[in-house]
C-alpha cells in the first residue's frame, strides 16, 4: 500500500495545488454560468498533475468554485475516472465489457494479476502499477483491450503481458 499522501510519481503530496492550476481553475470558473460547471474538468486537471485527488486539494477546488466540500465530493465520487484514493505511476485499465469478454479477457486478467501480484483495484507494493477494471474502451475491434496511462493496447493475449509490463516498468523509472 502507498502511504496516503504521496502523488502517483511517489513525491510528497503538496499541501496546496500549484499556483498555475489555481489560476486556470479560477479562470475556468468565470466562463460558466455558475463556477461549479468547471468542477469536473478542474478535478481532472488536479488529478492529471498529482495522480489522484486528496482531501486538501478537493477542499481547495471547492473553495475556488464556491461549492461545499460535501457537494464536490459527491461529484468526485460519482465518476469512474476521478480517483479519490492513491494510485501508482501507471494506471492499467482493463476492459471488462462484452466484446472483450467474448474475446477472452478473463485469461488476460488472470495473467495480469499474477504478473503484478495484485487483485483488481489494487496497487503494487512498489507503487508502479494500479490495476482497475474499465467499461468498453471503444477498441472492441482490437479486443481484449486495455489502457495504460493514455496508451491503448489490443488485442492483448495473456502471453503478451510480460513484455508489456516489463516495458512500462522500464519506461516509468
Amino acid at each position: 500500500m502507498l502511504t496516503a499522501e504521496r502523488t502517483a510519481s511517489g513525491a510528497e503530496m503538496p499541501d496546496r495545488i500549484a499556483d498555475d492550476l489555481v489560476h486556470t481553475i479560477t479562470e475556468m470558473g468565470h466562463h460558466d454560468v455558475l463556477p461549479r460547471g468547471a468542477c469536473i474538468e478542474a478535478l481532472r486537471m488536479v488529478q492529471e498533475r498529482y495522480g489522484w485527488i486528496c482531501d486538501r486539494h478537493l477542499k481547495q477546488v471547492a473553495d475556488i468554485l464556491g461549492m461545499s466540500l460535501a457537494d464536490i465530493d459527491g461529484v468526485a465520487t460519482y465518476f469512474n475516472l476521478l480517483f479519490r484514493k492513491p494510485v501508482g505511476k501507471n494506471v492499467i485499465m482493463l476492459c471488462d465489457s462484452v466484446s472483450c469478454w467474448v474475446m477472452g479477457v478473463d485469461g488476460v486478467r488472470e495473467k495480469l494479476c499474477r504478473k503484478l501480484g495484485v487483485s483488481m483495484g489494487q496497487t503494487t507494493q512498489d507503487g508502479e502499477f494500479t490495476l482497475l477494471p474499465i467499461v468498453c474502451l471503444g477498441h472492441c475491434d482490437h479486443a481484449p483491450a486495455m489502457m495504460i496511462g493514455k496508451d491503448l493496447y489490443g488485442p492483448v493475449r495473456p502471453e503478451d503481458i510480460d513484455a508489456i509490463i516489463d516495458e512500462r516498468r522500464g519506461a516509468a523509472s
Partner: protein, 439 residues
C-alpha cells in the same frame, strides 16, 4: 462485391478519415471541407437549413433514431442575439461494443466541427460543447487542435465568414459514467453535478444546459451535416438503401475475421456487413446470435443473420438498430456468461436514482452468477422473467437505462431457454474451456 465503395462520394463520413494523420484545415478544404458551411452562411436562412436537414431524412445516430431536422425544429426561433442557446455533441460512447465516434473524432475532427457550426447556425446557438469520453485522450487532443485551427482560419469566433454569425466551441472531457451518454444526464454533468438524468418534459430543446434551449446530437449525426449541405438532399437520399437518408457507420466485434467499422448505405443487410466486410466468422466458430447495435439492444438469433439494418426492420424482429455496431455471440461462448457480463455492466453503471434500476439490476446479476456457477434452481428463471417485467417497460424508471439493460436479458431468456434450463438442472453454464477455445 466490394464492400468499401471506391468512390469517396459514396462514403462521405470516412472519405477523409485518417487515424494516423487527420486532415488539417487546408487538407480538409481540398477534400471538399467547409463547402457546406460556406453555402449555408452565404445566404440560407436558419429555417432553410432545418428544412433541408429534415427533407434529407437524417435520423439520429446515437441510438434512438429520432429525425434530426424535426428535433431542431422544436427549438424556440429567436436569433442568437436575442436568446442564449447551446448545441452539444454527444461523444460519450460508452455503450459496450460501440467504437464509431472515436474513429470520427480521431480521424477527421474538422468534419464534426463544421457539422456543429452549421447546426448551431440552424438553431441559432452561440455556444457549443463537445462532450467527449474521458478515456479518448487522442481524440481530445486532436479535437482541441481542430478547434484552434478552425478558429485561426475564421470558421469559429465572431462574425464567421463575414456573415454576422458568432459561435464559440469548447471540448469537455467526461469524468466517466455510462449514464452521461443519456442526454439530460450529460447536461447535468456539464453543470458540474452528479449526472442523474432529468425528467422530460421539458425537453432540452426548450430547457437544456443552464436552462437555455439546447440541442444534443450524436457525433456521427453532426458529421453528416456538412455533406448534406454541400451536396444536397437528393444526393443524400441516394446514398441510402432504404427510406431514410445517408450512409451509416456499421461495425462488428466478436469472433469475426475482420472486426471493424464500415461505412455502408443505410439499410445494408447484416449478411453484407458480416460476410463481405468483416470476412465472416473466424475458422472454427459459428454465429449463434448477435446484438445488432450495442449492449442495450435485444439479441437476434442466427436466423436473422441477413436482416436489413435500417431502423424499422430490427424493431419488427424485436430488437433495435441502436448504434449499428453488432456484437457477435459465437457457438463456443456461453450465452449465460455473456448476459451476466452485460448485466454486470448495467448494474454497475446505474446512476442509482430509481429503485427498480438501482436495486433490480444487481439482483439480476446475482441470479445470473448463481445460475452460471451451478447454484441456481428452476425458480431463478422465473425470477429473472419477473425482473424483466418489473424493470423493463418504459416508464417504470426515470430514463432508458433500465429498459436498455433488460433488452438482452429478456430476449436471451427466450432465445437461450435450453441453456438456462440445463444450467439450473445442475452443473451451471457450459463454458468451453480456454484450451477448447484456443484449439
Amino acid at each position: 462485391m466490394s464492400y468499401t465503395a471506391k468512390d469517396p462520394e459514396k462514403r462521405p463520413l470516412l472519405a477523409l478519415v485518417d487515424q494516423a494523420d487527420p486532415p488539417d484545415v487546408a487538407t480538409y478544404e481540398r477534400g471538399g471541407g467547409f463547402r457546406g458551411l460556406r453555402r449555408v452562411l452565404s445566404g440560407l436562412s436558419p429555417a432553410e437549413v432545418i428544412d433541408e436537414v429534415t427533407k434529407s431524412k437524417l435520423r439520429g445516430r446515437g441510438g434512438a433514431g429520432f429525425s434530426t431536422g424535426m428535433k431542431w425544429s422544436f427549438v424556440p426561433k429567436e436569433s442568437q442575439k436575442e436568446r442564449k442557446k447551446y448545441i452539444v455533441a454527444n461523444g460519450d460512447e460508452m455503450e459496450p461494443g460501440t467504437f464509431k465516434d472515436r474513429l470520427l473524432v480521431e480521424g477527421n475532427p474538422l468534419q464534426l466541427v463544421e457539422g456543429m457550426i452549421i447546426s448551431a447556425y440552424a438553431i441559432q446557438a452561440s455556444h457549443g460543447v463537445i462532450f467527449l469520453r474521458g478515456e479518448y485522450h487522442l481524440g481530445l487532443e486532436r479535437l482541441k487542435i481542430a478547434v484552434e485551427q478552425a478558429k485561426a482560419a475564421g470558421f469559429l469566433g465572431e462574425n464567421i465568414l463575414g456573415s454576422g454569425f458568432d459561435f464559440e466551441l469548447i471540448v469537455h472531457p467526461s469524468g466517466g459514467r455510462y449514464i452521461c451518454g443519456e442526454e439530460t444526464a450529460l447536461l447535468t454533468a456539464l453543470e458540474g453535478r452528479r449526472a442523474n438524468p432529468r425528467t422530460k418534459p421539458p425537453f432540452p430543446q426548450v430547457s437544456g444546459l443552464w436552462g437555455a434551449p439546447t440541442v444534443v446530437n450524436n457525433i456521427e449525426t453532426f458529421s453528416n451535416i456538412p455533406h448534406i449541405m454541400a451536396n444536397g438532399i437528393d444526393w443524400y437520399l441516394g446514398l441510402s438503401a432504404c427510406g431514410d437518408g445517408g450512409t451509416k457507420l456499421y461495425g462488428v466485434s466478436g469472433r469475426a475475421k475482420r472486426p471493424g467499422v464500415y461505412e455502408l448505405p443505410l439499410g445494408t443487410r447484416m449478411g453484407i456487413l458480416l460476410e463481405e466486410c468483416a470476412g465472416g466468422m473466424q475458422d472454427g466458430y459459428r454465429l449463434r446470435a448477435f446484438l445488432p447495435g450495442g449492449a442495450s439492444t435485444a439479441f437476434l438469433g442466427a436466423e436473422h443473420a441477413d436482416i436489413v439494418l435500417d431502423y424499422p426492420t430490427p424493431e419488427k424482429a424485436g430488437s433495435r438498430l441502436g448504434t449499428g455496431l453488432a456484437i457477435l455471440l459465437d457457438d463456443r461462448a456461453s450465452p449465460i456468461g455473456m448476459i451476466r457480463n452485460l448485466e454486470h455492466f448495467f448494474a454497475q453503471e446505474s446512476c442509482g436514482w430509481c429503485t427498480p434500476c438501482r436495486d433490480g439490476l444487481p439482483w439480476v446479476e446475482k441470479l445470473l452468477i448463481d445460475i452460471e456457477e451451478g447454484r441456481g434452481g428452476p425458480d431463478d428463471i422465473l425470477r429473472l422473467q419477473d425482473a424483466c417485467r418489473l424493470i423493463g417497460p418504459m416508464g417504470r424508471t426515470f430514463c432508458a437505462h433500465a429498459p436498455g439493460a433488460i433488452a438482452p436479458l429478456e430476449s436471451g431468456l427466450r432465445l437461450f431457454r435450453e441453456d438456462f434450463e440445463r444450467a439450473v438442472q445442475g452443473g451451471g453454464a457450459v463454458v468451453p474451456s480456454a484450451q477448447e477455445r484456443a484449439a
